[in-house]
Subunit: 161 residues, 2 copies
DNA sequence: AAAATACGTCAGCATTGTTGACATATATGC
DNA sequence: GCATATATGTCAACAATGCTGACGTATTTT
């Protein structure tokens, strides 16, 4: 009686089921970023610019090192895109009055406008998927994604619950 | 009576809830690819090599154009990584006997070994998240991701159900 | 006063995507 | 059988976005 155990995955999780999950993530992430990517191209911006605009929009007044901790890229990499966004007037900096070494980041009205344009594309895609799936599926979606996210990054979500 | 409607999202989906979904996707995808990325670095390979190895592993004997259709990159981009994988003996080609223009792709034993190494890291992460979440959550996870995936790419999944 | 922190910058390099131009082998349509 | 379409490959240049390493300045902490 062959008990198909191709790889080391207990608890009824077949290899095919796990591969399907991986592919779902791959295609979903790809399609999720496709629309913003094409909008950004019109500004000569890329996905890296989008991330900066998104997170600064989500947490106005964050410092450069806060942003570095979220993005997990080097300051040299960030500097390139952040510099462009500053020079082109999408983001502005303000010295923290508490600690004058820190530069707090804010979207300008122009930056806010682009943020809204980009985020609206993505939120409407998510909203459509949510509406088509129902509340229960939405809860499951979040639960599983949280399970995939490392403990370190988990912390970013616990407070917002 | 202010009925908070910050953006255009009906059906009780708050802006905060939708932004959280976007962030979950961002962090999950990042953490999901982190382990393979660090393994690949040891081979002087990148994420592009991983994708090729993964999809050829999932569908042995696929043609170059099949792969191009999945990855949605140009043949010049693919050629670079595919060429490396061929030269270094991770993948081998075989002329299709039906249509001798087509080159069918297969993993070599060496390629299969790397595929297993990489995929096992990712499947165990998914498996852990699945086990911690329960069957119902897993179903919801797949439902929502499918809702995010474009109709074009959906087709890749319908047959496997 | 010395050390640590926050931020910035210059320089070079790798990966992975792009466009455009061509070339070859094979299959298909008429 | 010839013209055309298809599948694949290749050369060259360029752009976005990561990286490392080396410095420099301002400010805070010890």
């Amino acid at each position: 009686m062959p008990t198909t155990t191709p790889r080391a995955n207990p608890l009824f999780l077949s290899d095919a089921e796990l591969r399907k999950a991986m592919e779902l993530l791959f295609f979903a992430y790809r399609d999720f970023t496709a629309e913003p990517d094409s909008i950004l191209a019109r500004y000569d911006f890329g996905r890296a610019h989008h991330r900066v605009i998104y997170f600064v929009g989500a947490d106005a007044g964050m410092s450069v090192s806060d942003l570095l901790a979220i993005l997990k890229i080097t300051k040299q990499s960030l500097s390139r895109v952040l510099g462009q966004l500053l020079r082109e007037g999408f983001i502005e900096q303000q010295t923290d009055t508490q600690d004058r070494r820190r530069r707090l980041l804010f979207l300008t009205p122009k930056g806010q406008e682009l943020e809204t344009l980009l985020t609206d594309k993505q939120t409407s895609l998510i909203a459509k998927a949510y509406r088509d799936s129902g509340a229960e599926a939405v809860a499951g979606f979040a639960t599983v994604l949280r399970g995939i996210i490392s403990d370190v990054d988990q912390k970013r979500f616990v407070e917002s619950e």
